[in-house]
Amino acid sequence: MTKSYPTQESEHDLETGSIKSDDAVGKGEGAGLIGQHEPCSPKLPATGRAGQAVFEYAPAPESRSIVHLQSSYGLFIDGAFVEPLDGKAYKTENPATEELLAEIAAAGTADVDLAVEAAGRAQKTVWGPMSGVERAKYLFRIARIIQERSRELAVLESLDNGKPIRESRDVDVPLAAAHFFYYAGWADKLEYAGFGPDPQPLGVAGQVIPWNFPLMMAAWKLAPALAAGNTCVLKPATTTPLTALLLAEIIQQADLPPGVVNVLTGAGSVAGAALVAHPGIDKVAFTGSTEIGKDLQRALAGTGKHLTLELGGKAANIVFEDAPLDQAVEGIVNGIFFNQGEVCCAGSRLLVQESIAETVVEKLKRRLATLRVGDPLDKNTDLGAINNAAQLDKIRELAAAGEAEGAVRWSPACSLPERGYWFPPTVFTGVSQAHRIAQEEIFGPVLSVLTFRTPEEAVAKANNTVYGLSAGVWTEKGSRILWMAGQLRAGVVWANSFNRFDPSSPFGGYRESGFGREGGRPGLAAYLDV
């Protein structure tokens, strides 16, 4: 199903400098079967011995049978899986195939009451009074069980979210375990964390998380909250409840006292809204869209509830002419195509110094031609499915807007499965700051390329956004990196790297990207009365 691949000469117009869009792609959905793995690479004629085929990677699917999916899942309240009081349920599907995975309980307000009451009770009677040393033991145990069941978690995450198994296996699950390990280490050292001699937990935390990193976000929320002595009611995203429910099972397996962690699946507008509005909640932590974040802030104003928000982003990945180019190209790819670009800190704006823009775009295109798009469970897949139909619509709408506004769209030739939610890796060149694709968060595998002339201009353009979550700087000049880091209004600045995470490193944003930090010592402050 591979379309013919035009030579590089024909893609790049020397005279005008414009990059022509390959009309065979960009429209998106070619026909193909999932599991049929076609790299987007050009096919050179086979060379060498007679009869020799090219190096086609055979399918290498991770075994699905390691996951034991139930036909339906209840809510995790007070240490047990229970049916919702009003008996509602919805379906979760595999975004790569649109296949039904399981029926999920939809929590109503009565369920929220139960969960918050259980959490409040557990906080006052068990978890709050417990010594930090003892809390740490539970957290270490959870971390170890996550590692032991890592393969199961990775497969389930890829099934429910659509992300490649390579990423769920090598990034999501290890980082989730690492967060529990890291905050387990803090649990008995809170008095040395710089928040006074005896810092106290806030109480019950209501935590609402997104669908892009379902397990990892749960870990980022739960681990610091629990280490600090809070109890939690977690509301996973509607489209990705499965790994949070498996984590609840792990929490049961770790013998965590009932009520310390509760997991409520269901709609954000029902369960999520009831949770954050509940008077028994002392702290709200939300990761998701800026729009909902603003609603939350309005709703919580004057209630006395603590709030941290981790919202959208439109990160600039800034490449100077003295950058290590091959690694910068890798960083650009990792910045925007990691997790199909469904990353709040994705490097969705490439700011490249004009003197090397052509070179970088050429190198980038050549690299993108080797990206392998397809079955998320195949170990060689680089780019999986978009998580849900609504998100795919949004990506399509913004990409169409990019074309309408005059930016030049390009995708490598590649076939996409015919079922499921798919979008090809896409690059827009000739983008200006005024374009919607340079301003609005796309949350998909779509890169906008802009150019700059001087470091000052790079900073001005990078900061010319309502967001301020992350940025990347690529240069071999150390002093420039330090200067840029001081000038960029972004919570995270990566130097000669992008999308690297560590539990000891605080993560969070400026302005419409939210406030509060997750990770590191500052991550504790969000869950302590400081």
């Binding site: 060379t47 086609e56 055979a58 290590p324 180019l325 960083g331 052509e358």
Partner: protein, 357 residues
């Protein structure tokens, strides 16, 4: 900055001393590194483009130091990421057979004898006595004095005879001695010559000396193919690996090779990645396809397949050919054969089922 030095000679500088410099550097101008489509329009023979290179030490230095840097963390992360590719079933069988055909079966010991070399040659011609469908290896690699033995033993086969030369492995001898070493090997019938660069000269910044030696050896090789060993384990940084790769290619190398096998670390995945990137960029610049040989420390099939994946995803399929990619190894061959028989039969054979060389 770096692409500037690579692509444009700052106006005025060097022009008076080198009247031909400005003109000959024009094809580089505007290519901005590896901008392939532009380069193709102005592609010229390597010799023509780089003829002036090294006429003065400062030109050469400006060119080499102006190459884009290599970020160590990023290069190693990319190599590690490619190493997670899962090559199974048909792809694995294909890769194993390809790897067999790319092996330079090597013996470089003080204790080498005609008997040892003849045994190695027999193995090279027919790696698996029980299965004639296994392709022969690419070459047998020996010291110069054993080239006649290997040549006789391989007569009538497709297997090439490669000889190390230029005071291998240290390269610490005068140019005259090195060239005599090369001529010796060539006169004895070596199809390929594996030279070492003068790492001392390279590390002390005497790039012109390194280049001149490569050029002199290339000339002494005549029709024989030249592989230039960078000994990356002694160059230490990836920036140096990239610079040395360019020096070798500009000097006329048919292959650039990681290591002698006498220094640790020898070949590594990130080093191979950086060399393949250099080869790719050089091909875009000049149209010349230079081969890469990884040597030393590659003992099992799994590692060999990882190298093939890096080749596949860095320079592409054209390099998946014994004429452009080689493994310098000895014990690797039997592991490739064992894994191949496992793929075909479904179960592992014992080590005694595979002949030693």
């Amino acid at each position: 900055m770096q692409s500037e030095a690579m692509t444009t000679v700052p106006s005025g500088s060097g022009a008076p001393d080198h009247p031909d410099l400005e003109q000959s550097s024009r094809p580089l101008t505007g290519t901005a590194g590896a901008g392939s489509s532009i380069v193709r329009a102005t592609k010229r023979p390597v010799g023509e483009i780089f003829a002036e290179m090294g006429r003065s030490e400062s030109d050469l230095r400006r060119f080499l130091l102006g190459l884009p840097g290599v970020d160590q963390v990023g290069a190693e992360a990319r190599a590690a990421s490619l190493a997670t590719r899962s090559i199974k079933t048909t792809a694995k069988l294909w890769a194993l057979e390809m790897a067999v055909s790319m092996v330079d079966l090597t013996t470089l010991e003080g204790a080498d004898t005609p008997g040892k070399v003849m045994s190695l040659c027999a193995k090279a011609r027919r790696p698996d006595p029980g299965d004639p469908s296994v392709p022969p290896v690419a070459a047998v690699c020996v010291y110069p004095d054993l080239v006649p033995v290997a040549k006789r033993a391989l007569a009538g086969s497709s297997v090439k005879v490669a000889s190390v030369a230029t005071a291998f492995p240290s390269g610490r001898a005068s140019l005259g001695v090195k060239l005599a070493d090369v001529r010796d090997a060539v006169v004895a019938g070596a199809d390929e010559v594996d030279m070492v660069i003068d790492r001392g000269a390279f590390l002390s910044g005497r790039y012109g000396l390194v280049l001149d030696e490569v050029r002199a050896v290339k000339q002494a090789c005549g029709q024989a193919h030249l592989k230039v060993i960078l000994e990356t384990g002694e160059l230490d940084t990836y920036d140096n690996v990239r610079r040395a790769s360019y020096l070798a290619m500009v000097g006329g190398a048919d292959f650039i090779k990681t290591s002698t096998g006498k220094v640790s670390p020898a070949a590594t995945l990130p080093v191979a990645l950086v060399m393949l990137e250099a080869v790719r960029d050089f091909a875009e610049l000049t149209g010349a396809l230079v081969g890469v040989k990884v040597a030393g420390g590659i003992r099992n099939a799994k590692d060999a397949i990882r190298y093939l994946v890096i080749v596949n995803e860095t320079v592409g399929e054209a390099w998946l050919d014994p004429s452009l990619f080689r493994f310098g190894a000895s014990s690797l061959l039997n592991d490739l054969l064992m894994q191949r028989s496992k793929q075909l039969s479904g179960s592992y054979a014992g080590t005694e089922d595979f002949s030693i060389a």
